[in-house]
């Protein structure tokens, strides 16, 4: 008897609980339904309560940055685009360093912003393959003529999957990738010339270490951070490559290219001679490397070609080490006397519209609106007299704080369809870019022009297959992580263990999908070549 009652009680309670749970979920579901239906009604009618268009934005965690959803730029967007279209444009911040992670979660939860984006092409293709993205051909035809003509066929082709437009790639006007910078004032003090090849660089770094020309505490001849963000080894590795056929050059993984091993061995030697930041592999956020550079302790470093111009480097450096004078340098020459280096393709970030979005039409309208030259100009340069002043027709930035501040170079996180300035010819674009970033500081303008020139000399771009690589979709992220780990470990390894470690790591890499990716690359490459014949 007693047991029976107990059982009944238990059942009753669990039912009550379940009911509560279900009611709770149901409640939430209803709410969602309401907003959704509201949204679609409004977009049909064009009046009534406004639709909310959500747009992703990178949160770069910059000191003193304004509210990413409430500043000069978002207000402009809402005023000029939102009001006429009866919409509220809401920006959804995503941490820059974890963009793909966060995007995966948002997509899986059907909560990704109406306009989402990523730099990782594999991720976009993976979403498209699972049927999670709108195909944009019709929408683009109907509502995106201005956008279409701005980007052009070539740029748009980077956003296609199986012949369908699945993303809108931004247009990249400046295609330099990495850059290398050296302290000219230190060189002058030592009476040394700017290095033009590896051996000269090596001697210079040794002199930096031994003579400490800046007389700083803890001099770092060559600063870098854990692989993967901002800091790189420039074009050192291509400079070691031996002769290859075009097919090999395109399809072989870098780890297996002739010369890569020697390149890492050279870096390993430098690290063990204490010429490279001792703790770089622990510096996962580049905070340490940034601090070292801006405290004037660093002789040489390689990062994005425009890295010295960015506000987070430029301003503290000026404060902490006003004498520091970094110049762009080209120092990794290969056996043929060339300074081989990789450049970007003409595409920038990929914007796409997830299937869960109720506002696909509005999203395309938004991107189309942005292609209006007047709009783009404002978003990149702001208002004359407030955000920039015009000197010889080139807008020169005025340093900003608070809500006028741009958290990315020329606001590229808000202007998804363009990356870099665009005012006609390349030289002017570079100068404009530099002027905008460096607030008209002449020396920085020169640095930018030099850096751009150097880093587009002897450049090559990644081969564009035009078809997706299934293996790459599957293993791409794992291999990318492995790349970073391998690079760091090889540089830090004990010299005696280097050879064995290199072979072991490369075998692991090939087994973990590297081989599959390479095989498919070869197949795709041959297909493309056969078709073009």
């Amino acid at each position: 008897m007693y047991k029976g009652i107990k059982k009944k009680a238990a059942i009753l309670f669990s039912t009550v609980l379940l009911a509560v749970g279900v009611a709770g979920c149901g409640g939430a579901g209803n709410n969602n339904g309401e907003t959704v239906s509201k949204g679609s009604n409004a977009s049909e009618a064009g009046s009534g309560s406004p639709v909310t268009l959500t747009v992703e934005v990178f949160d770069r965690g910059i000191q003193g940055q304004p509210d990413l959803n409430n500043n000069t730029w978002t207000k402009y967007v809402n005023e000029k685009f939102g009001k006429p279209n009866n919409a509220i444009v809401k920006f959804v911040p995503v941490p820059r360093s974890q963009e793909v992670d966060k995007l995966n979660v948002l997509m899986a939860a059907n909560e990704a912003p109406d306009i989402s984006f990523t730099y990782d092409g594999n991720t976009v293709t993976r979403f498209a393959k699972s049927g999670g993205l709108y195909t944009l051909d019709e929408l683009l035809e109907k509502h995106g003529q201005q956008l279409k003509s701005y980007l052009g066929e070539k740029v748009l082709s980077y956003g296609k999957y199986e012949g369908k437009q699945i993303s809108i790639p931004g247009k990249r006007t400046l295609i330099a990738w990495n850059g290398m910078f050296i302290r000219k004032d230190w060189l002058d003090k030592l009476g040394m010339p700017v290095p033009t090849n590896r051996d000269e660089l090596y001697n210079t770094l040794v002199a930096f270490r031994d003579k400490n020309p800046g007389n700083v505490d803890g001099v770092i001849p060559w600063a870098t951070a854990a692989s993967g963000m901002n800091y790189t080894f420039g074009n050192l590795i291509p400079s070691f490559w031996g002769p290859m056929s075009e097919e090999e050059f395109v399809t072989t993984t870098n780890w297996l290219k002739p010369g890569t091993k020697d390149a890492y061995k050279w870096l390993n030697k430098l690290y063990n001679e204490k010429l490279i930041s001792p703790d770089f592999a622990l510096d996962k956020t580049t905070k340490q490397a940034d601090a070292d550079v801006t405290n004037g302790k660093v002789g040489f470093y390689a990062a994005n070609w425009d890295y010295p111009l960015s506000q987070k480097i430029r301003e503290p450096l000026k404060q902490n080490a006003p004498d520091a004078n970094y110049v762009a340098v080209d120092t990794f020459k290969n056996d043929e006397g060339k300074y081989l280096k990789e450049m970007y393709n003409e595409n920038g970030i990929f914007s796409f519209i997830p299937k869960s979005s109720k506002n696909a039409e509005l999203a395309i309208k938004y991107l189309n609106w942005m292609a209006d030259p007047e709009v783009m100009y404002f978003l990149q340069f702001g208002e004359e007299g407030v955000n920039h002043k015009l000197v010889n027709g080139i807008p020169q930035g005025i340093a900003q704080t608070g809500e006028n501040m741009q958290t990315s170079n020329l606001n590229m996180d808000y202007t998804l369809i363009v990356n870099g300035a665009e005012l006609g010819d390349t030289e002017k674009n570079v100068r404009t870019y530099a002027a905008a970033l460096a607030a008209g500081d002449q020396s920085y303008e020169k640095l930018a022009v030099d850096s751009y020139k150097i880093n587009t000399t002897d450049g090559y771009t990644g081969f564009y297959y035009g078809v997706s690589n299934e293996a790459s979709i599957k293993y791409g992220k794992t291999l990318g992580d492995m790349n970073k780990q391998m690079s760091d470990r090889l540089v830090v390894a004990k010299p005696a263990e280097f050879d064995a470690l290199y072979d072991k790591l490369v075998t692991e890499y090939m087994d973990a999908g590297g081989q599959a990716v390479q095989d498919e690359n070869i197949k795709n490459y041959r297909d493309v070549k056969a078709q073009s014949k």
Binding site: R126, P278, D279, K355, K477, T478, D511
Partner: protein, 316 residues
């Protein structure tokens, strides 16, 4: 039947003795209090079990569980072919075993020592100071560890100012392992003492008095009274700990790890994060999670079984 009669007689409400409402009436508040934790368990622990079916599907995030294709054990096959999975599994076990060896006895020892502190104020203060690290996020601890132990960190600066060789605490494998374990012990030792201190309070005071009369030394009392007094607590915690052997927190290895020691720091939780969240392969992540739970359950059951065989109390 007898039990029911007894209990109803005891509480003197014999009228509606067989009605379940009677119990609600009698202990309504207690049942009510039970609602919240039960809801928590049901919603956050039971409901997600449904998601485990993803491990047997080629899960498509846009189609959901209902629309995804069933693939049987393919996902498991794929995982068991990967070397990095075995490495993660091995590291998880190694780190946990070391944690158990170093981290399990530490709070017991500390609790016994704390128990011997006579001055109440000093005891309270020591306890509070020792708890504190438990409330720090691993991100902060990671920052502190970097400042202290990196090549340019405090300790190495100190060493090199005396002309001593630097110790690469964080970038070589064995020193990293020791640092990892030591930091873990430091963080948890204070918190771990709470349960033991509570258990010690439950020991009959008369035992100590009796031993005083018999002329026992302090060490003798610890060995013959305090330790046996908390033996069952130790037992239960040990069994639970063993059950958790295959699972490992995410923050600690993720924050403290770096690419140089990834041969040791890549564990199951970071593996799941990498394939699940970073690469968006939810099927694989779920399958690894399921595998982990199953092994954990087996370990827990065997530990409990062994404990019972040895004549101790199990957890049930």
């Amino acid at each position: 039947m007898k039990a029911v009669l007894d209990s109803s007689r005891k509480y003197g409400a014999a009228k509606r003795k067989n009605n379940f409402l009677y119990y609600i009436k009698r202990d309504g508040l207690l049942y009510f209090l039970l609602l919240l934790p039960m809801a928590y368990i049901l919603i956050f622990k039971y409901a997600p079990i449904y998601g485990l079916v993803m491990a047997f599907q080629d899960y498509n995030i846009f189609e959901g569980i209902r629309g995804s294709e069933w693939v049987g054990l393919d996902v498991f096959r794929f995982i068991f072919e990967q070397d990095s999975f075995y490495r993660a599994l091995k590291n998880t076990l190694v780190l946990n075993v070391l944690d158990l060896i170093a981290g399990f006895p530490a709070p017991i020892l500390l609790a016994i020592l704390l128990n011997e502190v006579r001055q109440a104020k000093l005891k309270k203060m020591t306890q509070t100071v020792l708890y504190l690290p438990h409330f720090l996020s691993w991100v902060i601890i990671g920052g502190m560890v970097y400042l202290m132990f990196s090549n340019g960190g405090m300790i190495n600066n100190f060493l090199s100012s005396f002309g001593l060789e630097k110790i690469e605490f964080l970038s070589r494998k064995t020193p990293w392992l020791i640092t990892y374990i030591a930091v873990g012990v430091w963080q948890n030792i204070g918190w771990g003492t709470i349960i033991y201190l509570a258990a010690i309070t439950g020991i009959n005071r008369e035992l100590y008095e009796a031993s005083d009369i018999d002329g026992c030394s302090r060490l003798r009392k610890m060995w013959h009274i305090t330790l046996p007094g908390i033996k069952s607590t130790i037992n239960i915690l040990l069994i639970l700990q063993i059950g958790r052997m295959v699972s490992i927190g995410f923050d600690r290895p993720f924050v403290m790890g770096n690419s140089l020691v990834s041969d040791y720091s890549d564990v199951i939780s970071t593996f799941v994060y990498r394939v699940g969240i970073s690469s968006g392969d939810f099927s694989q992540a779920t399958a690894v999670g399921l595998f982990q739970s199953v092994v954990g359950l087996i370990l827990l059951l065997s530990a409990n079984f062994v404990a019972k065989k040895l004549g101790e109390d199990g957890i049930w």
